[in-house]
């Protein structure tokens, strides 16, 4: 866990613990369903956070608390002092554990964890006691006749008329449901979406209230959340399902409402508010009681949010502007250099522009978790349908990538996983015959390496049969027998990424539908990344994806080639040599560079890019760049290195450039346009 994550985790957990503490104290005054619900949510959130960390002790304890609270939520019974003591002691245990996490001290943590186990056992014991107890309080709430609630007791959100409607509905055997609905943040014409939701619900019931009111929904004066009170013969979950069946609906939570419960929720207008916003007592006192309760809770939620959702297009606009700023900054620097004008103003602008750029780019970073979280379910389903046993290990979900890259990465990764399970992992009996454990293992790991993100998909399955690939290459006339012989195993393996190449013995339903590895490759390369495969027959396969952190702005080395200025990603260049000093020889049909004992193929960049014909003799003062990426190296010849600069990548139309090496263009500080080179095709050989 990074420092930043730990800080966020600790502060968020503290908030939940605070809610738990305050709420439990409130329960001493009597059971308020709203407070119980709040407590339940807090325990549940803590459990979720702990589960992501693999903190089993905390998961166990919070789960026991959840059970306890969920029971109380159902029955509405008054808790005995001993119950509250127990739950408060659990909070203390959690606090001790959190303090240990904050300190990061192993010994204290181990101690705290032991404490958690003991607490879990006593909370469970307390829960059993609770179950055995008579539920007098519960029956009271259940049978509370609607007529008993007086107008003064009613919560502000439901007026007399609403209450009467609910009562009338209950008499008719209908159910009132409180529906919380959140639209997709990207939803356009929200009011029309609301119209569709209303329409869907009105087919089976009546909407008697909305929060915010219908006019505000119609005028789109709401963020993306709203609440509806619906009376229907359908149960809450069925209503929720109807709404979920509509497009652009992100979340629906349904809760049954009874007239009695609505009354019970209002004992003391300040009650629920205390639990919801423990950190803002002042705001609550001033504004809380005056506002309808629902609205107040929406507002509290809003104030409590640590994250702000922003329209992606605004972010993209900001990135574009920063890009322009970087270009102008570079021009300013180059003008200043030419005129010999140096001042701290320029330095200041330079520094701020760089910081601004870093900050804005960080806004677009999204953790890989957003893709990874889909995997467990998919792997499970797929393994079951194929009669295989597969264990999935995920690592590095917190690694971040630019959001545009995340999008283009989802499908390729899913395809690789499918391949691993479908073609890689053997059925259990076959694995047993091979002396492998019956459960196959697929691991997806991600990490940042310098300026790039590396994602590996590895399985311990059958591996790829290189001999079969060689045979197939000849059979299909893709290569001659002699060429195939000259291929190294590694080179032969790379062929599975070429279009129309599959060695699966039978085309299965899952991976054989024409979306082959070539699609994976083009998606990854389209995103400026690269793809490599390693496989050993019978042992397994590892596929390694490398992607740039971001596509928008990169560090580039500027080189000159036949009078043209080109930009090469800086992270790929590992050394610059003078041709005169370099050990370049002619071998077979081409040149090679002997570099630290390695023989690297030499690429005449100007020839590849069709800038000029191949040079017979290399000028000794021209330069040889050693390019390295993912364990592959190549040498590339350029005339001159001009400098290095941060460049903003602007896409180039494929109509303009059919060269695979051209990945974009940029405007340099000098105002000249330079082509940005993606050396990936060269590295592939």
């Amino acid at each position: 866990m990074s420092h930043e994550e730990r800080a966020l985790f600790v502060s968020e957990s503290q908030e939940y613990l605070q809610i738990l503490n305050n709420g439990l104290l409130q329960l001493e005054q009597g059971t308020d369903p709203e407070v119980v619900a709040e407590l339940f949510r807090a325990a549940h959130s803590l459990k979720g956070m702990a589960a992501t960390l693999g903190e089993q002790g905390v998961v166990g304890l919070t789960h026991a608390m959840e059970e306890f609270l969920s029971r109380v939520r159902e029955t509405g019974e008054q808790l005995a002092a001993e119950d509250l003591d127990l739950l408060l002691a659990a909070c203390d245990g959690l606090e001790a554990w959190l303090a240990a996490v904050q300190k990061g001290d192993e010994a204290t943590m181990a101690q705290a964890q032991e404490g958690l186990e003991t607490l879990e056992a006593s909370v469970r014991a307390g829960f059993q006691r609770l179950l055995g107890r008579e539920q007098t309080a519960a029956s009271q709430v259940e049978t509370a006749a609607p007529g008993q609630t007086s107008a003064g007791d009613l919560p502000l959100e439901l007026n007399l008329y609403d209450q009467e409607l609910i009562q009338e509905a209950t008499r008719q055997g209908l159910q009132a449901t409180d529906l919380f609905i959140r639209l997709d943040p990207g939803c356009r014409m929200k009011s029309v979406r609301v119209f569709l939701i209303f329409r869907a619900l009105e087919q089976v019931g009546e909407i008697i209230k909305s929060q915010p009111p219908a006019e505000e929904l119609d005028e789109e004066r709401f963020d993306d959340r709203f609440r509806l009170l619906v009376v229907s013969s359908e149960p809450p979950e069925a209503l929720a399902e109807r709404v979920r069946g509509l497009a652009e609906v992100a979340e629906v939570v349904a809760r049954p409402v009874t007239a009695g419960e609505a009354g019970a929720g209002s004992n003391g207008a300040a009650g629920p508010g205390q639990a919801a916003a423990p950190r803002e007592p002042a705001a609550r006192k001033n504004g809380g009681p005056g506002l309808p309760k629902e609205l107040a809770s929406i507002r509290d939620n809003f104030l409590n949010e640590r994250f702000l959702r922003v329209d992606v297009s605004r972010l993209d606009q900001l990135v574009n502007l920063v890009g322009e700023l970087v270009i102008q900054r570079n021009r300013l620097l180059s003008v200043a250099e030419e005129t010999g004008f140096s001042s701290d103003v320029i330095e200041g602008i330079d520094r701020i522009a760089t910081d601004l750029q870093t900050g804005v780019m960080a806004l677009r970073m999204v953790p890989l978790r957003t893709i990874f979280q889909r995997f467990p379910r998919m792997v499970r389903d797929l393994a079951r349908s194929l009669g295989k046993q597969v264990e999935l290990a995920l690592d590095g979900e917190e690694t971040e990538l630019d959001r545009s890259l995340i999008h283009s990465l989802a499908d390729p990764l899913i395809h690789l996983l499918r391949n691993a399970i479908d073609h890689g992992i053997e059925p259990p009996d076959e694995r047993a015959r091979k002396g492998k454990p019956p459960t196959g293992r697929v691991a997806v790991t991600a990490r940042q390496e310098g300026n790039r993100v590396v994602i590996e998909v590895e399985d311990d399955g059958a591996g790829v049969d290189v001999t079969a690939i060689r045979r197939k290459l000849v059979e299909r006339g893709l290569l001659s027998a002699k060429e195939v012989e000259e291929l190294s195993d590694r080179q032969a393996l790379q062929w599975i990424f070429r279009p129309g190449f599959s060695t699966a013995k039978q085309v299965s339903d899952i991976s054989g539908r024409g979306v082959g590895m070539d699609v994976v490759r083009s998606a990854v390369e389209g995103a400026g990344g690269s793809l490599q495969i390693d496989s050993e027959l019978g042992q397994g396969t590892k596929i390694r994806l490398e992607l740039p952190l971001t596509l928008a702005i990169i560090q580039a080395m500027l080189v000159e080639l036949a009078g043209e200025r080109l930009a090469l990603p800086l992270d790929v260049i590992s050394e610059v040599l003078r041709v005169g000093d370099a050990d370049i020889r002619t071998l077979g049909g081409g040149r090679v560079l002997n570099w630290r004992g390695q023989i690297l193929p030499v690429i005449d960049a100007a020839e590849r890019l069709q800038l000029r014909p191949a040079q017979e003799v290399l000028p000794p003062d021209s330069l040889a760049l050693v390019l390295e990426r993912g364990g592959r190296s190549v040498c590339c010849l350029v005339d001159e290195v001009v400098g290095h600069e941060e460049v903003v990548i602007k896409p180039v139309s494929k109509l303009v450039s059919t060269l695979p090496e051209v990945s974009g263009a940029t405007v340099l500080g000098s105002g000249r346009v330079a082509v940005i080179i993606n050396p990936e095709p060269w590295l592939e050989g």
Partner: protein
């Protein structure tokens, strides 16, 4: 079996955009119409599973076309496509019988979500 879709829009570019999105995702675009009149004729002859319907078109607008189609086939599944700011027309189209709406410029994932949800509702 792939669902058969009729794409209705007066600009060839929008039709192509939709066709690409749909075909790449396993739908079969059985026909394209550039006017409301054509849409109604093609609906009758092709009997598509789904229709995407533009609103502003020459020779009968999308809303009228939706009404005509709903008269022929009350089960018709139509998604209305509009530009931002046509809210009232979208509501009118939905009232006329369209099941969902899409806002231009199209975002492929929204298009697919709308189609999938519509499909799920009726199976």
């Amino acid at each position: 079996m792939a669902l058969r879709v009729l794409v209705v829009d007066d600009t060839a570019f929008m039709r192509m955009t939709l066709r690409n999105v749909l075909e790449r995702n396993g739908y079969e675009v059985v026909g394209e119409a550039a006017t409301g009149v054509e849409a109604v004729e093609l609906y009758q002859s092709l009997k598509p599973d789904l229709v995407t319907m533009d609103i502003t078109m020459p020779e009968m607008d999308g809303i009228t076309a939706i009404r005509e189609i709903m008269k022929m086939d009350p089960q018709a599944r139509i998604i209305v496509c509009s530009a931002l700011g046509q809210k009232n027309m979208v509501i009118e189209a939905l009232t006329a019988g369209a099941k969902d709406y899409l806002v231009k410029p199209f975002q492929p994932e929204r298009v697919l979500e709308a189609l999938e949800k519509l499909q799920a509702q009726h199976t």
